[in-house]
């Protein structure tokens, strides 16, 4: 690697752009995409709360605007970055970018953000047509919503990749040792923050199978084993932070908890009938899963055994993740059903306005929600097996992310 060449260009860049010095050589684009990721998450969780509390949807409802703001910010910053690099960028700048379609150059993160922005914008007329054709669906997963979710995920992933590329590149010269440390800390922190936002998105997509009523059923653990070990292993491997998976799970929990505490502070009234549950304030979205516990285990294993065979690592992390999820969420499910969880902190009194508040299983597991005996063991074995595969995949993906430099 031509380190001197890189150092030279980076110094030139830093000296020529005083704003960059202030941000420790981290372009504004990285902060903008991280903001876009947060804006999308707030918009999404607010939108779910809006549907369970107010119900009446609209293309330009305030939560939708939050999501669109994320799309626009990431799209504009990324688009600008790609166009600037492609047509006005110096040779050196272009050499720090990926080239595509013969004429364009830009960072990989920007490309993901542009894709996400276009997908989100495509989903708007598609969703509008969908509502006019099949009715105003009250579901998270529908084809146009999936296009939107994929778009949002790509914007969020673009934010993660943008930070990673910075992290993986050589530190630009011209920074003092203190600044270098600060820069490293900042990049590592932004990376786990943007990863935490992404984890909120993953959870939200799967939330129809992850509510408190699902925590005693086998499907909960299969879905959990499919998603979280994959993502958390990838983060643990790609981040240079020691406790990356733990911090990511912590950010995920904090975001969901903050939203669960803040949204019910605002008044809301159902605007659609039939109304079976009279409410006066926003109903909170779910209390987060206690993913921080299995995440600690992932970090501990990764700290000690990262250099081991990746299949061996997956064999350790996968089943352990499912066991820890079971050990934590099963009793936590009981707790969430108990009167102790019916307070502002755990927000378990939240209830969709169209559901009967006197339903006998509002705070209890109905027989059909509980797996036991062989079916439970079978589900856990499946979850464990899937978890091994997804962990292996996550480690591979994390290995790739570790290498992204542009």
């Amino acid at each position: 690697m031509d380190v001197s060449f890189q150092a030279h260009t980076a110094t030139k860049k830093v000296r020529s752009d005083s704003a960059s010095v202030k941000m420790l050589g981290i372009p504004l684009f990285v902060f903008a995409t991280a903001f876009a990721s947060l804006s999308i998450i707030i918009g999404l969780i607010w939108d779910i709360s809006w549907h369970t509390s107010i119900g009446r949807d609209g293309l330009l409802s305030p939560p939708h605007l939050g999501m669109y703001l994320g799309a626009i910010v990431s799209g504009l910053f990324s688009g600008y970055q790609v166009l600037k690099t492609s047509f006005w960028g110096s040779k050196e700048v272009k050499q720090r970018s990926v080239r595509f379609w013969g004429i364009f150059s830009g960072s990989l993160g920007a490309l993901f953000c542009i894709w996400g922005c276009f997908a989100m914008l495509t989903s708007a007329p598609f969703d509008d047509w969908w509502h006019n054709t099949y009715g105003l669906d009250v579901t998270i997963l529908s084809p146009p919503h999936t296009v939107l979710l994929l778009g949002m995920m790509m914007v969020q992933f673009g934010a993660m990749i943008s930070v990673l590329a910075m992290q993986n590149q050589t530190i630009p010269a011209g920074l003092s040792a203190l600044q270098e440390n600060k820069r490293n800390r900042l990049l590592r922190t932004i990376y786990v923050i943007t990863s935490g936002f992404f984890l909120v998105m993953l959870y939200t997509m799967a939330s129809e199978f992850q509510s408190r009523h699902d925590m005693h059923g086998g499907t909960f653990y299969i879905v959990g084993g499919l998603l979280y070990p994959f993502f958390l292993s990838a983060i643990a491997r790609s981040s240079k932070l020691k406790w990356a998976a733990t911090a990511t799970a912590g950010v995920y929990m904090l975001v969901l908890m903050l939203l669960a505490w803040m949204l019910p502070l605002f008044p809301a009234e159902p605007l659609l009938g039939p109304i079976l549950n009279d409410i006066t304030h926003y109903q909170a979205f779910d209390f987060p899963l206690l993913l921080i516990i299995p995440a600690i285990a992932i970090d501990m294993i990764m700290q000690r055994k990262e250099e081991n065979n990746k299949w061996l690592l997956a064999l350790m992390i996968g089943p352990l993740f499912v066991l820890l999820l079971l050990a934590v969420q099963w009793p936590f499910g009981d707790f969430l059903m108990s009167p102790y969880a019916r307070n502002w902190f755990f927000a378990q009194e939240s209830w969709y306005f169209g559901s009967n508040p006197d339903w006998e299983y509002r705070y209890a597991y109905a027989p059909w929600m509980v797996s036991s005996g062989w079916p439970l063991i079978k589900s856990l074995l499946i979850a464990g097996g899937i978890s091994i595969l997804t962990t292996r995949l996550g480690l591979h993906w994390g290995g790739w992310m570790k290498k992204v430099m542009r």
Binding site: M1, R96, F112, T122, P125, L272, P274, L276, G354, M405
Partner: protein, 555 residues
Amino acid sequence: MKYIINPVRLFILFLLVLSPAYAHVGSPGVIYEGEAGPYRIMVNVNPPDVIPGTATVQVYVTNGGVEQVLLKPIYWFSGADGAPKADEALPLAASPGQYEGLTWLMSNGTASIEVKVSGELGEGTALVPVMAMSTAQKEMDPALGWILGALGLFLVILMITIIGVSVSDAVVPPGDEKKKTGHRKTKGMVVAAAFLCLILYGGMSWWNNWAEDYRRYMYKPYQANTKVVTTDNGRKMIFEIDSAYKEYRQNYLPISYLIPDHGKLMHMFLVREGSLDAFAHLHPVRTDSLTFEVDLPPLPNGRYFVFGDIVRGNGFHETITDTMEIMGLELPVSLTTSDENDGWQPSDPDDTYIISNPVLPNQVQLAAGDIVVCGKPGIRTPLPDGSSAIWEHEGESFQANRLYPMTFSILDPDGEPAELEPYMGMMGHAVVMKHDGSVYIHLHPVGNYSSASQDLIKRRMEDDSRLVELPSADQFRDSVDQVVASIKAMSEEERNDYLMELMGHTYEEEENGEHAGHATVTFPYAFPEPGNYRIWIQMKRNGQVLNTAFDAVVE
């Protein structure tokens, strides 16, 4: 001579707009004319053709200083307490007295719009029944299809590109441009393309499943089989509702739960196809939960449109359509309605029929004695009993989707306003049909909603339970059959008094109200689409039902 032409109606003539959808046949808009407490109002509801969706509601208030008009959707399923807060209908600056607003209909089923008017005269409410059902399967507009297709293609190409560079350029340290990564890029792009094809295929299957599900739960009217059998007492029509439809409707209220409307379990209309020169309004009797029978009047041979209007126990008002052949002996066709001469003994005292001229001049005129010659708007038309009818309208043509006050005046043989009497609790009944049968609707002077639906929702609103419970189907059917039989057994005067009271007004009130003088009857209606229409009007004078018909061209 005293013709009552409400200036409000004439005004609305040019204001209100409807669009096509369901309920009855091809004529979805719901029109209400009546009172909201001290206010006289006309309401025009244009329900959505996809549920959940929004209904457009137009309200015209003709008296009192109005301060606010509120609209609230109330479902029979969850009652008044389960309704959201009302939305305001805003005044239209260009049209004093007219208000317009949107109401959200979230679930399928029997709903209603509560219109609340407040102002100088105090507060008043009116309830307009609306049947909330998805009735349309929409196709994507080609322009939108191309735009979405192009965006989709762009997204696919961009994603293949991104994955290609992700595994090649992106992992090459900056400055190390000599490293050859072309084969990795190609491999990545091929894998990405294959993976995206799988995703797109999965997405397409998902979309198709979604559309299939939507079609499954879309509103489909009941199907029926109609046949004519000859008995010792003449010809009898048997109308059998297709039981196979019960299966798809398992989520809804079974057909056993029917309630009477205007005292009858079914209002059936027969119209001879093609010439539209034979028309009957009959009231079949239920023999079991799916079968209805009625004695046929002496109608000429031919193929007939059959329309059966029913109201289910949850207030859902719908029309079952079929066609039937009347074959065999040509019976003497000589009268416009039942009397001693034709020997027809109707199975219900309110059954009537009419023979008129065919719709097209080149069609053969039936050889009947008292043929009613169909009138045209604005032209005085003689009736068989010596009286005459006139449709108060200037010019002959109408615009589609515009609300018209179809006002008909009856003059006695001396040319004086006739004294009309109520017929089945109403001052008049009308049927509007497009020549090809694609539009059919049964109208009353109060609008085109079902009084039975309205009454049921009013009762539901008095009940403060959130969810409703019904008795068993057998119990329900038996008690309804008893009520219908007892109404049928009443004398005509008793029956009229009973039905008018049920609908919340009396004949005496009508004398002082809009129908004062009882010489005119107005049916508010908007033709949903252009074409040629025939309108049959049924009113009563001197104890005899006067059937007349008019032709109209809608542009």
